[in-house]
């Protein structure tokens, strides 16, 4: 700057910076002093910030700052607070009866929200994230229940599971009529067609309905009941409705009768706390199929 001669511009009454481009001279428009001071203050502030707060990355860590602030510690505190808030609400949930939870909009909303999260974490791998089920894993949205669809029955199933090995679990399984030699292959085909006829599905041409009925009466009625209406005590499905856990094709039915079925649901008692299990029961019940 020293080699430039500052000049006075008579038109504007201002000084110039002394810079000249093609005969045009740059006017000196000085910044207000407070602006410059503020600018320097921000720099000083930044340096102070480096000292006080975590700032500079090092090779494997970072500078910690003199007051020891950590955003992770903040998160931990926030999470602890959240747990505390939830704790109180979950206690209220644990104290209420299942029926009362469904009648109280606030508790119902809490149970549904909690249940949905826990369902996603624990149940979705088998039942699907929307509880729509899959082959062998029941759809929990419909009104067909293997072990019962009342609030208490759902809760019992969640607590103790099905064929889970828990002392109080649901027991009962479909026998392997073919593999164990109880029924011959042609008898299995006949009874499979009879089962299809129970829910109005078409049957194979020339199949012997009377023989099918007899085989069914001799072998199946014990669990599936007269007319195949099922038995929730044993987890024996209703064979007259439109819902099929493994499928209603003749081939699948033959496979089911030949090899038997014994789907397993784990017991959740002990893995989930009682209030959470309650929330789950309410959630599953409220999906739409609850009785």
């Amino acid at each position: 700057m020293t080699d430039h001669q500052s000049e006075f511009d008579s038109v504007t009454g201002r000084s110039t910076t002394g810079h000249e481009w093609d005969g045009i001279k740059e006017l000196n428009t000085p910044l207000p002093r407070w602006w410059v001071i503020t600018f320097y203050l921000t720099i000083i502030w930044a340096i102070g910030y480096w000292i006080v707060y975590p700032a500079w990355p090092l090779i494997s860590s970072n500078t910690r700052g003199v007051i020891g602030y950590s955003s992770r510690a903040d998160v931990a505190v926030e999470l602890a607070n959240l747990e505390k808030i939830r704790g109180d609400k979950m206690v209220a949930l644990g104290a209420a009866s299942l029926a009362d939870i469904e009648k109280d909009p606030a508790l119902l909303a809490l149970a549904r929200a909690k249940g949905k999260t826990v369902f996603g974490d624990n149940c979705a791998p088998c039942h699907g994230s929307g509880a729509a089920g899959a082959k062998g894993f029941p759809n929990l949205n419909d009104d067909d229940w293997l072990w019962g669809g009342t609030l208490d029955q759902i809760m019992q199933t969640i607590q103790f599971g099905a064929r889970s090995g828990h002392a109080k679990t649901h027991e009962g399984q479909m026998l392997a009529f073919g593999k164990d030699g109880v029924l011959k292959p042609d008898e299995i085909v006949t009874v499979a067609n009879y089962v299809r006829s129970l829910s109005g599905l078409p049957t194979r041409k020339g199949y012997d309905a009377a023989k099918g009925e007899k085989i069914f009466a001799d072998n199946c009625v014990a669990c599936h009941g007269d007319g195949g209406k099922g038995n929730q005590e044993l987890g024996a499905p209703n064979l007259t409705d439109k819902i099929w856990l493994y499928g209603s094709d003749e081939a699948i039915l033959i496979e089911t009768i030949t090899n038997g079925r014994a789907g397993v649901m784990p017991a959740w008692e002990g893995r989930l706390d009682p209030a959470t299990i309650k929330a789950m029961a309410v959630y599953v019940h409220s999906l739409g199929g609850g009785k």
């Binding site: 000049e7 207000p32 410059v36 469904e102 909009p105 949205n141 009104d143 409220s286």
Partner: protein
């Protein structure tokens, strides 16, 4: 033409150097006249509204806030007299902002930066602070003399300064105090604040607003307009040659001469300007400029120089309005001996007015026709449909019912869509199974789970439109929304 100067000569005592400059403190002189009166009136109006509006009451019934204007952040409600807005209606503010922006454009195209000169909070509070300063320390000359005095301060001067800052701080504190009253019930909060039981956040905001008011109106003043505010820059792009800006009518004013000399020259029949170079226009200017240099970035169009000049012109027996709200077109017309023309109504102002009318009208229409009952429905995505044991189809929806009124409602839910369809609300045992009825508390939202079931017969299509209708069975007010009923 440029003469070379030594840079040292440019550096005055209060300058640090050529790269940045010390502020040249402005000492506006008091003035009286038309525009000063308008400014006093508008200042009283604006400050009156700001300080006292939170205390205006409005009866909304039991359990609802009774404050006319209230921003209820914890409950996410905004109350403005008869209007109550929910967070999802925040788009009304978009309309308000559009109207505000275009109103600013309109003002600018009619009278330049009159917003800056009369209504901007920065101007209003600075004006108030100047008035206090003038009352305590005296007018322009006295203040300049006192500031420039090198004598050690006497008790009188110290008490003057103390008094001035105390009053400033009091005004600033009151400004912050009024601000927080918009966010809580004013009388209750005032009681809490004076007994030191108010929420910490209220004290913090009072502190912040006190500090900003004190600094911006007491110290920064015209620098806020010159350096910090974007509007002076923006308005340059929005103005046109017809806008009436504060203008020195140089066709009348030049050449400047003294009163005495002008009288002599006029006696000789010579052409003399009216400007007597008295510098009154400069003395009263709150931004410290000389309006005779033409339109300038710093000028806030307050018109105080017009008052100052008019007073002088009256005294020396010349016509007033040597400085006036005018434009260059008329100066040239007068120079050419033509009558000046003023075109307030022109395409630009008409377009702005039309936009304001259209957006404002639309907002009024939307506000007047908005329902206080609403329903939103979200179809379950997983599973989209469920086959029941008897073969019928069920779809589940999450419905959100909004009751924006001040009383509880009994709502009936009906559906139109799939043949022979029925609706059930989870957790609700309605006395009328085909038409579930529920209660939604006043001023709240209810989230419900709706199950719509329809037989497979007659509903073969993959997707059937379904309309959910909610009806207030007491008042008959209704709302509806549509979604689809999907087959598995």
């Amino acid at each position: 033409m440029n003469k070379t100067v030594n840079p040292k000569d440019l550096t005055s005592d209060d300058d640090y150097g050529p790269l940045y400059a010390a502020r040249k403190k402005v000492y506006p002189q008091s003035v009286s006249g038309t525009f000063r009166r308008i400014k006093w009136g508008l200042m009283a109006f604006c400050l009156g509204v700001y300080y006292f509006l939170p205390f205006v009451r409005w009866n909304r019934g039991l359990g609802a806030p009774s404050q006319a204007v209230l921003i209820d952040l914890p409950n996410s409600r905004f109350y403005f007299f008869f209007i109550e807005l929910w967070p999802q209606e925040v788009y009304y503010f978009t309309g308000l902002l559009i109207v505000a922006a275009v109103a600013l454009f309109l003002m600018n195209s009619v009278g330049g930066r009159i917003w800056c000169g009369y209504l901007c909070p920065q101007t209003v509070w600075t004006d108030l602070f100047y008035a206090v300063e003038r009352l305590i320390e005296g007018d322009r000359r006295e203040r300049m003399k006192k500031d420039a005095s090198k004598d050690p301060m006497k008790l009188e001067r110290i008490s003057e300064i103390l008094l001035k800052h105390s009053i400033w701080l009091l005004i600033a504190w009151w400004t912050g105090g009024a601000w927080v009253l918009y966010f809580n019930d004013a009388p209750t909060l005032v009681k809490e604040l004076v007994t030191f039981q108010g929420p910490m956040i209220a004290y913090i905001w009072i502190g912040i607003l006190t500090a900003t008011t004190y600094v911006l109106a007491g110290y920064m003043r015209e620098q806020v307009c010159t350096y910090m505010c974007p509007w002076p820059r923006i308005q340059a792009a929005l103005t046109d040659e017809w806008a009436l800006n504060v203008t020195y009518r140089y066709d009348r004013g030049e050449k400047r001469t003294s009163v005495k000399k002008a009288a002599e020259l006029r006696a000789l029949g010579e052409q003399v300007g009216d400007c007597v170079d008295c510098y009154q226009c400069v003395a009263v200017c709150p931004t410290g400029i000389d309006i005779r240099n033409g339109p300038q970035l710093e000028c806030i169009q307050c018109g105080l120089c017009i008052d100052a000049c008019d007073n002088v012109m009256t005294k020396i027996g010349r016509p007033t309005r040597l400085i006036a709200y005018d434009n260059d077109i008329n100066i040239h017309r007068r120079q050419e001996g033509k009558a000046p023309i003023y075109r307030i109504v022109r395409p630009r102002t008409m377009v702005y007015s039309a936009i304001i009318a259209a957006v404002g009208g639309f907002m009024i229409y939307v506000l007047a026709t908005r329902t206080l009952l609403d329903i939103n429905v979200l179809h379950d995505r997983n599973p989209v449909a469920v086959r029941l044991s008897d073969g019928s189809i069920r779809n589940a929806y999450t419905a959100r019912l909004l009751n924006k009124s001040g009383h509880d409602r009994v709502i009936a839910i009906d559906i139109d869509g799939p043949v022979n369809s029925t609706i059930h609300v989870v957790g609700v045992d309605s006395v009328t199974p085909d038409r579930p009825m529920i209660v939604i508390p006043r001023d709240s939202t209810s989230e419900l789970r709706l199950l719509v079931t329809a037989p497979a017969e007659g509903n073969q299509e993959k997707s059937i439109p379904v309309r959910f209708r909610v009806t207030d069975i007491g008042l008959g007010e209704a709302a509806s929304t549509t979604d689809n009923f999907v087959a598995p």
